[in-house]
């Protein structure tokens, strides 16, 4: 077991982990931050997406040890300071961008990553940016719409009848 220390959602945390412990396991099992989900074992689904040192990362592709000293943010750290939904989260709610909610934390983290570098993405850019995130419920239609809306763009022509 080895000691790791990192900053998660602004708080310094530490714990002892095995060499094989994945970052997502550390986050879920040791820190009890269960908003980051595990949907696969081949790094394909994006349910575990978080930000590490400002980059979008699948937390199942990193060992906890590799995150020693890193700045990590998870879905639990995304709300506004008063605890209310942030712009992206609010847009997901407004446009019904989630159903079962299992992929949702990863989708929100991926959307935040996109909007950081591309403040007005096109529909196609959004769809391509989500290539690492699978949703089985929504057919993506309303996720795309939510991200467009979060970026302040008009979504009326994406609207279904």
């Amino acid at each position: 077991m080895t000691e790791v220390t990192m900053t998660v959602n602004g708080k310094t945390v530490s714990g002892s982990v095995e060499g094989r412990t994945l970052l997502v396991e550390f986050i879920r099992n040791d820190l009890h931050l269960t908003g980051t989900h595990v949907g696969c074992d081949t790094s394909q689904c994006g349910a575990c997406a978080i930000h590490v040192n400002g980059k979008l990362v699948k937390a199942c592709t990193m060992f906890a040890l590799e995150a020693d000293g890193a700045e990590v943010s998870t879905i639990e750290g995304q709300a506004n300071d008063d605890g209310s939904l942030n712009v992206i989260q609010q847009a997901f709610k407004e446009h019904h961008g989630l159903q079962c909610g299992f992929c949702t934390p990863g989708m929100v983290m991926a959307a935040a990553d996109l909007l950081k570098t591309n403040s007005k993405p096109t529909e196609l850019e959004i769809r391509e940016h989500l290539e690492g995130n699978i949703c089985r419920c929504t057919g993506y239609h309303n996720i795309v719409k939510a991200i467009l809306a979060a970026s302040g763009q008009d979504v009326s022509n994406i609207a279904a009848e």
Binding site: H37, C45, E76, H96, Q99, C137, T138
Partner: protein
């Protein structure tokens, strides 16, 4: 009643905030004090004889608390089939035992034959690798046709791989044969309805907690219907008394059918928790999900459509082989039969239908209901053969369908496949579709695609489905071993807010938002004052859970009945308060009033009075304001729709892209249109996934080739377009008090043939003599079809 919050309002979902903030509570998020971990040891071969299992090395590993094998469960029951299907000759179906852990033989890759319980998951995993099993590999039974003709059996004790040979309707057989023989034109098509893996994003998870003090158990599990799971475990598998077992399905991350069923892992963790007197948990890896969740579809069908000289449909006749896998999953026998055969008249006034289904055991994972369950298979066969007939006859595919539609004035209409459609207007739906699909502009769009070197195709489909399967007395005669009602308890609390305990389970469908809209509308209260309680057998009445687009039509109707009882009792209390008799009391918009006077009393005051009955005629009116209703529908509901899809095909690579997709559906009345549209979007994505991307593949040795997201192609955002959905045609169901029909499966039912019809159309536009391509329409298959 504010119009923006009751029935018909697109109010935002109250469940969203917890999911968006990361505070949802899925099974795997639950941590119990002193918990331990289970890991299953699964077969690597498709068919094998277990000679011995040596667990000694595993037992000696650090942290190991217990090891189980099939031996430990020989004295308990098996996981039963929920529906008895008889063969055409009257013989009952074959029902081999499905044990908690494989015993004697392993029958598919992923079949669990041992389990290790340890202090940590890693210790359990390490120890599981030390289980030494001597399993002799046997030749696998994979291909259905050879399974039926061969002498190698999945279950030796039944001496056949055929579960049953079912005919529907047997009395129609001769007439159908005759109609086909004498027809002016017969179109024949052989097709495969590809095997799919449901792939809810949350893997299955089960956690058992045993309390020795009371000898009772709590099972947290990813279930679409906790009461049914409890019943199966209690009555058939472990024999735990129902009142000693609580099943809790908290937030569940999608189901699509795969979480309807009881699985052996649930029984194992319960038995283990009792043995070691500590909580035992297990969460599937995605690889385990691929190998052990119930799969869907997997039919091979030959369909014939007979027409007269005026292109009127005379008969549909199908022969199907349906794969059931190695064991009977709970609803695996009804899915390819009742849920498939009865739909084989489609939306059409066709006088003859005959369906034959042979269901086949193979050394593959069990196959059961997956979003649509039988109805997508029926729709696919019908709508593909109709399209082929249109091509052969040189008639417009929309015209051919319209000509044969059951017309609005023909309802109620008993079809040749035995269902009684209550109401519908298929031409009106097609009108809406034509409006959205801009058919007039298609030639222009095709030209544009051609100029860019692409082939463009247009596919059309119309579908009907049957939801809210019922009534119990009818399905009982058809072999169901369960009832298919649902239940709701309405508890008006003393302070006037309301708790509604429901048998339906929400795993993405938004019940916590939509159900209160019904209650709010009826009682004139704010929906925010209505709380839905679901997913916990210790709190909710016995209901049958959520699948088959049944929640609103069946459980929603139970809520209506329950609220009606509340109103009727409320009138008695109000009558007492206003010194009149209850027949003189009206109730509207949350206010009780005495007819013809201006005397009123509010709903809240009545609620309070019910719980503080100081001056109450106790002999006439019981205290409290709580009612339960069980609702058993009179009939199925029949949502219907018409879909249009435009594709582009790259002639050099065979790559298909969806250029547009429009869906027009009739779901009857709608409670929350935002949720309805979301359900359609999700269904469309799964149906398009089936048509273009998804294929669960076993090789001839029974190895699962598509066992991860690297090999099984899930639809991703860039594979799909934005959808046009329309639900403005609303013919309310006449068989339930809400007039609703159900919308959860429609998209997955209607879309696969739409896409395939479009691709075939695209290829034919370039003079390729292609009549059919089997799904999934991968670039390789499409390219091969173009290049023979």
């Amino acid at each position: 009643m504010p119009k923006d919050s009751g029935i018909g309002a697109a109010i935002k979902r109250r469940e969203d905030a917890r999911f968006l903030l990361g505070s949802g509570r899925y099974s795997d998020d639950i941590t119990l004090l002193n918990q331990t971990h289970a890991i299953f040891v699964r077969s690597e071969v498709a068919n094998g004889e277990i000679n011995s299992i040596d667990t000694s090395e595993a037992e000696a590993m650090p942290g190991v608390l217990a090891v189980f094998t099939g031996e430990d469960f020989v004295d308990v029951g098996g996981n039963p089939a929920g529906w008895l299907i008889n063969s055409r000759n009257g013989d009952p179906m074959k029902e081999p035992k499905r044990p908690v852990l494989a015993h004697g033989k392993v029958r598919h890759v992923g079949d669990a034959y041992a389990a290790v319980i340890a202090e940590t998951e890693q210790q359990a995993r390490d120890a599981a690798e030390k289980i030494n099993a001597d399993i002799k590999e046997l030749p696998a039974v994979i291909d259905m046709a050879s399974a039926l003709s061969g002498k190698n059996f999945v279950h030796d004790e039944i001496g056949t791989n055929q579960c049953y040979d079912w005919g529907w309707i047997e009395d129609n057989r001769e007439a159908t044969d005759k109609a086909i023989k004498n027809a002016h034109h017969v179109t024949t098509l052989e097709l495969v309805n590809n095997r799919l893996v449901p792939n809810a994003m949350e893997p299955r998870c089960s956690i058992a907690d045993y309390n020795p003090a009371n000898d009772d158990y709590t099972l947290y599990t990813t279930s679409q219907n906790p009461h049914l799971t409890r019943l199966l475990i209690s009555a058939f598998v472990l024999g735990i008394p129902e009142n000693k077992l609580t099943v809790v399905s908290p937030d569940v991350g999608g189901g699509f059918g795969s979480k309807i069923y009881h699985y052996g892992e649930e029984a194992l963790v319960l038995a283990a928790a009792k043995r070691i007197k500590r909580p035992v948990r297990w969460t599937a890896t995605r690889s385990e999900s691929f190998m052990s969740d119930a799969h869907g579809r997997d039919h091979v069908t030959k369909i014939e459509l007979a027409l007269d000289k005026d292109n009127n449909f005379l008969a549909f006749r199908t022969e199907t082989m349906a794969n059931v896998g190695a064991y009977l999953s709970n609803f695996s026998t009804v899915t390819p039969t009742i849920l498939h055969g009865t739909l084989m008249a489609g939306n059409y006034a066709v006088p003859n239908v005959y369906v034959n289904v042979k269901t086949v055991f193979t050394n593959t994972a069990p196959v059961d209901a997956y979003r649509g369950a039988g109805r997508p298979e029926a729709t696919y066969s019908l709508e593909r053969v109709i399209d082929k007939a249109a091509t052969e006859l040189g008639v417009d595919p929309i015209k051919l369908r319209r000509q044969n539609f059951i017309k609005p004035d023909q309802f109620p209409y008993v079809t040749a496949a035995g269902l009684n459609y209550d109401v519908g207007d298929y031409d009106a739906i097609m009108d809406r579709l034509e409006h959205h699909a801009d058919l007039k502009g298609f030639a222009q769009r095709r030209k544009k695609s051609e100029a860019a070197g692409k082939l463009r195709g247009l596919g059309i489909n119309s579908y009907i489905e049957a939801c809210g399967i019922a009534p119990s007395n009818l399905i009982g005669t058809l072999g169901a071993r369960v009832g298919l009602y649902d239940a709701a308890t309405i508890r008006v609390n003393a302070t006037g807010n309301i708790s509604v305990m429901v048998g339906a389970h929400s795993h993405g469908q938004g019940h916590e938002t939509a159900f209160p809209q019904i209650v709010a509308d009826m009682l004139g209260v704010d929906p925010d004052n209505v709380e839905i309680v679901h997913g916990d057998t210790s709190k909710i009445p016995f209901g049958m859970g959520t699948y088959g687009s049944r929640s609103l039509a069946v459980c929603g109707s139970a809520i209506v009945r329950g609220v009606e009882k509340i109103i009727s009792k409320g009138k008695k209390i109000a009558a007492h308060m206003m010194e009149t008799t209850d027949d003189k009391v009206d109730f509207e918009e949350g206010v009780f009033s005495v007819k013809g006077t201006n005397k009123t009393v509010s709903f809240g005051d009545v609620a309070l009075k019910a719980y503080i009955p100081h001056d109450f005629p106790i002999e006439d009116i019981e205290p409290g304001l709580e009612e339960t209703a069980f609702y058993d529908p009179q009939n199925f509901t029949y949502p219907a729709g018409a879909y249009a899809c435009e594709v582009e095909v790259d002639p050099d690579t065979g790559q298909v892209t969806i250029e547009s997709f429009a869906a027009a559906d009739d779901f009857g009345n709608i409670i929350n249109p935002m949720i309805v549209e979301g359900q359609v979007h999700g269904g469309l994505a799964q149906g398009i996934g089936q048509a273009l991307l998804e294929g669960c593949t076993y090789n001839e040795d029974g190895q699962l080739i598509s066992a991860s997201y690297m090999d099984y192609t899930m639809p991703r955002a860039a594979d799909l377009p934005s959808f046009i959905v329309d639900h403005t045609v609303q013919t309310p169901s006449t068989d339930n008090p809400l007039g609703v029909k159900g919308c959860g499966e429609a998209g997955a039912i209607g879309s696969p043939p739409t896409v395939v019809n479009a691709v075939v159309d695209a290829l034919r536009s370039a003079n390729h003599n292609v009549t059919h391509i089997d799904m999934p329409l991968t670039p390789e298959r499409v390219w091969a079809a173009m290049n023979n």
